[in-house]
C-alpha cells in the first residue's frame, strides 16, 4: 500500500491535484488521521531513501523516535563535535 500511496502523494503534490476525490475540499487538518498518518510515514520513508544506503536507518527503528535520533547522531557524528575554532583578526576587533 505504501509504495502506491507514495507515488500518488508525489503526483498530487507536483500537480496540485487532490490526493483522492473523497478528500476534495478538505483542509489538511481535516484529513482522516489514518490518511495523514500514512502520508507522514511515506514522507519519512522517502526522506530516509534520499540518504546514502549506509546512513539509512534500519526499518525496525522507523517507528522509534529515540532510537532513530540516536542512529542519526551516530551516523552523522552529530554529538562528537564539541569544540569550534574561529580565526579572529585582532585588527578587526574594536576597543
Amino acid at each position: 500500500m505504501g509504495d502506491v500511496l507514495g507515488g500518488m502523494w508525489h503526483i498530487a503534490k507536483n500537480t496540485h491535484m487532490p490526493l483522492h476525490p473523497t478528500l476534495k475540499g478538505l483542509a489538511v487538518y481535516q484529513f482522516p488521521y489514518t490518511i495523514s498518518y500514512a502520508i507522514r510515514k511515506r514522507i519519512q520513508i522517502d526522506s530516509f531513501m534520499e540518504l546514502p544506503k549506509e546512513k539509512r536507518p534500519p526499518k525496525e527503528l522507523w517507528s522509534k523516535p529515540k532510537e532513530l535520533e540516536e542512529w542519526f547522531d551516530r551516523v552523522f557524528d552529530r554529538n562528537t563535535q564539541t569544540e569550534f575554532t574561529f580565526n579572529i583578526d585582532e585588527d578587526e576587533l574594536e576597543g
Binding site: 500518488m8 482522516p32 488521521y33 490518511i35 500514512a38 526499518k59
Partner: protein, 233 residues
Amino acid sequence: MAKEVKLEDLFRWNKSVDIKDRKGNVLKTVYVRVAGDANLQEAQNHALARSRQIRRKLRDEESLEYKALFADLESRSQSDLIVGIIASEGSKFRDEANEELGEIDLPDLPDDPTLEEREKFQEDVEKLTNNRTEQLQKLIEEKMQTRREDLNKKDVQQLQDIYKVARIESSCFEVYGFEFRSYCVYLNVFSDKKMAVREFSNYDAFSNTSSLIKRILLESYADLELSEEDLKN
C-alpha cells in the same frame, strides 16, 4: 494468513449509517467519518481525564467503585487470583513480546526486479508475516507462563495486592480505550451528508443516547478505521 490492506481501504473513510427500529424501518440516516488529527488530540485529552478520575476512585477503598470492583477479593482463591492477574496483565505481555520481536526484516527487492523476483518477494513477505504472528503468540505464552510461575511462589496477601494493582490498571485502560473511541465517534457522527453538522450537540448527549444506537455507531466507526498495524504496512 495476514490480512492484506488495500489502498482503497484507506480512502474508505466515511459512510452513511441507517438507524433502524426493531422492524427494520429506517428512523434516521447519519454520516460517520474517521477522526482527524485534531479530533484525536481532543479525544485523548477527554479519555485521559476520565481514566485519571476512575483511577483516583479505584484507589480509594471507601469509594463505591473500589467496593464494586473488589467485592469478591477476599473470597478469591490463590489460583483464581493468579488467573485474574494474568488476564489483567494480558496487554503488557503482548506489548513486551512485540517490542522484543521488532519489525519484520523484509528482504531487499532488487532494483528493476523480474516478475519471478517479485513473485518470490511476495511469497517471502507472506511467510515472514505468518512466522512473526506464530512467534508472537509463542512468546506471549512463554511470558505468561513465567509470570504464572513467579506468582505461584507468592502468598494470598501478596497476590491480593498484585491483583488490585493489575485490576486497577486494566480497568483504567479499558475506561481510557472506551472513552477515547466514544469521543472520536461523538465528534464524527454528522446529520448531514456534507458532514458539517454534528448529530450530537455535546458528549453527554451522545453518552445518554440508547446503548443500541451507540453500539451501531461505534461498530460503524470501527469498520472504517484501519489499525496501526495495517497502517504500517
